[in-house]
Symmetry: C2
Subunit: 317 residues, 2 copies
C-alpha cells in the first residue's frame, strides 16, 4: 500500500525491534538514510539496527562509529533507498520487508507499505519522516542526512536538485552538519589506490557513435594492478559524461565471478533507465545500472549496439 | 566609509549613468555580481554597463548576451568582487571608484564607500542589495546571482558555504535560476582536448617524500599531442592535492620559451606562498605560483629539494 510521510511516521512510531536494510554496494544516501532513521528510532527508545550485504567503505565511518552493535529478533523490517529487493545483494530474500522508503521511480513496490517520492536523495524524504516522528534532530542525525543529500546530488550539482534540497541542506547545517568536512571527504579526497585505478580507467575509455557514447571498462586485473577494489569504482561513473559532446557515459566493471555490471550516465537526450531496462536493469532517467552474464568486452558490444539504436531512433523522431 | 546593505541600496537608487567594474581574469562571481547589478539598475530605468580588462570566457555568455552594449559618460563607478584596484588589470587607475561591493577579507577599502561582508560569494551580498533596491528579480538576474554563488563555493562544496548560501540558492532556483544547466557548464564539462591533456598529466604524476608531495609535469609536446593549450592547465592544479596523504601538490608547465611555471597547492601543514617565495613567486597560504628559467625536470628537482627541507623542518618543530 502506498503511504505518505505522516502514515509512514505513524507506522514507525508503533513498531519496535526494527531492522533497517540498506542496498548492497552502500553509498552515502542509503547509509545516511539508514543511520539517520536508526538514530531517530533509538532516540525514541526503540531497539533497531542497520544492516547491509557489503562492507561499508571506511569514509562513511562517521555515520555509525558511535553506535554499538546489538543482536535482537526483528519484529519489523524497513528497506531504505532500495528500488528492488535484488539490490539488497546477499540480504535479498532473507527478510519479509514491511516498509520501503525510497526515491527511485523504478521502485517495484515490493513491501507491504511503501513510500515513494520524487526527490533527488532518499535522505531528503527521510528528513521529512524524522521531523514527523517528532524527534529532536541532533548533530549526528544531521550529519547522516546531509551526507545523503550531498552524495546523491553530486554535491548539489545535478539537475534533479531542487530548491527544497538546498533548503533541507541549510536546515541540516544549522542543526550541526559539518558540510565542509563531509564534502571534502566525499568529493575532494582520492585514495592512492583509486587515483591509480582512475588513471587506468581513463586509459580504457573508448568513444562510439561520433563520440556521443563514451565507455570505460574496469577489469579484475586492474584492481590487482592498482590495489584498488570494486567499491572504489563508484566515482568513475561521472567521468565519461563530463567530456564535451558525450551524451551517454558508461562504466562497465568486471565482477569476481566473471559477470559484469554497467553504470550508465546520460543527459536529457537519452533515458538511462530505459537503456538499463533493455538488459534487465533500472534506475533514474540520467543514472541507471544493469548486469551482464558475460565479459566486459561483450557487455560493451551489446551496450554500444543498443546505444546506436537509441541515438538513431531519436534522430528519426 | 563603510556602509551597510541599506545604505548601499540608497546610494545606488540616487545615482544614474553607472559604470560597473569587474576584476581582470573574470570569474563567475565577479561577472554574476556585475551583470545582476546592471540588470537590476536597468530595470530601475537607469543607464549602466559592466566592463572589465580581459576577454570574458565563452561559457559565461548567458550572463550578458541579451544586453545591448551602450556608450555613455559615467557619473558613478562601482567595483564588484574586487579586493584591490590592481586586480582591475588594465582598468586600474582609469576611474575614480565611488563604491566597492566585495567579500574578500584582503579588501583595501579603496573606494569612497565600501560594503564588505564575510560571505563565500560576492553574489550572496549582491542578492541582498538587489532585494533592498526593491527590484523584481527575474530569471536573468537569478541566473547571474546563482552563477556567482556556485562558482565561488565550488558548487556549494567549500567549508565557507553557510546555511544562508544554501537558502539564497533555494530562493534563486525558485526565481528561475537553471541550477542544473549552470552547474553542468561550470563543473561537468571537459573539452575533449582537456580530457586528453588530463590523462597525460595524470600519467606524468610522480610522488616524493613518502608520497606527501605529488608533482605533475606538462610539456609543450603534450599540448601538441592533445590539441590542448596552456589555458586548459588551470583545472589540473587541484588534481594532485586531491590524493590522500598528499600535502603538497604541484603542477609544472613548460612555457613556449622553454622556461616553466609551477602552481603549488597545499593543505594547512605547508605554506604554499612560502615555498613559492623561495623561487621568487608568491600567492596564498594554500595556493601559490612561481617561475623557473629551466626545463620542467630541473624545476621539479629544485622543488622536490625545497619540499624535503620544509617537510623535514616541520618534523623537527
Amino acid at each position: 500500500m502506498k503511504i505518505d510521510v505522516k502514515q509512514c511516521a505513524a507506522i514507525l512510531s508503533e513498531k519496535d525491534n526494527i531492522l533497517i536494510l540498506t542496498h548492497a554496494h552502500p553509498d552515502g544516501d542509503t547509509l545516511g538514510c539508514g543511520f539517520a532513521l536508526c538514530r531517530a528510532l533509538m532516540k525514541m527508545g526503540k531497539i533497531c539496527a542497520v544492516i547491509n550485504a557489503d562492507k561499508i567503505p571506511e569514509k562513511y565511518s562517521y555515520l555509525y562509529e558511535d553506535i554499538a552493535p546489538i543482536r535482537f529478533k526483528q519484529d519489523f523490517v524497513v528497506a531504505v533507498d532500495v528500488a528492488t529487493p535484488n539490490l539488497l545483494g546477499e540480504l535479498d530474500g532473507k527478510y519479509h520487508i514491511d516498509l520501503c522508503i525510497d526515491h527511485h521511480s523504478s521502485n517495484t513496490e515490493y513491501a507491504d507499505n511503501w513510500l515513494l517520492e520524487d526527490v533527488p536523495a532518499a535522505c531528503q524524504l527521510m528528513f521529512e519522516i524524522i521531523k514527523e516522528l517528532g524527534v529532536d534532530i541532533d548533530k549526528k542525525i544531521a550529519q547522516c542526512l546531509y551526507t545523503g543529500l550531498t552524495t546523491d546530488t553530486g554535491c548539489f550539482r545535478y539537475d534533479s536538485t531542487t530548491a527544497a534540497t538546498y533548503r533541507a541542506a541549510a536546515e541540516l547545517i544549522e542543526l550541526g552538519a559539518d558540510n565542509g568536512r563531509i564534502n571534502r571527504i566525499m568529493f575532494e579526497t582520492k585514495s592512492k589506490t583509486y587515483a591509480r585505478l582512475e588513471r587506468l580507467a581513463l586509459e580504457s575509455m573508448r568513444f562510439y557513435e561520433n563520440e556521443r557514447v563514451a565507455i570505460i571498462t574496469v577489469t579484475q586485473d586492474m584492481y590487482k594492478l592498482t590495489g584498488s577494489n570494486e567499491q572504489e569504482t563508484e566515482a568513475l561513473a561521472p567521468l565519461t559524461r563530463q567530456i564535451e559532446g558525450v551524451e551517454v557515459g558508461i562504466t562497465i566493471r568486471e565482477k569476481s565471478d566473471a559477470t559484469c555490471k554497467a553504470s550508465i550516465r546520460t543527459f536529457e537526450t537519452v533515458n538511462a533507465a530505459k537503456l538499463a531496462k533493455e538488459f534487465g536493469g533500472g534506475g533514474h532517467a540520467q543514472a541507471a545500472a544493469c548486469r551482464f552474464d558475460c565479459d566486459v568486452k561483450e557487455a560493451r558490444r551489446r551496450l554500444v549496439e543498443k546505444c546506436t539504436e537509441i541515438l538513431n531512433a531519436a534522430k528519426e523522431d
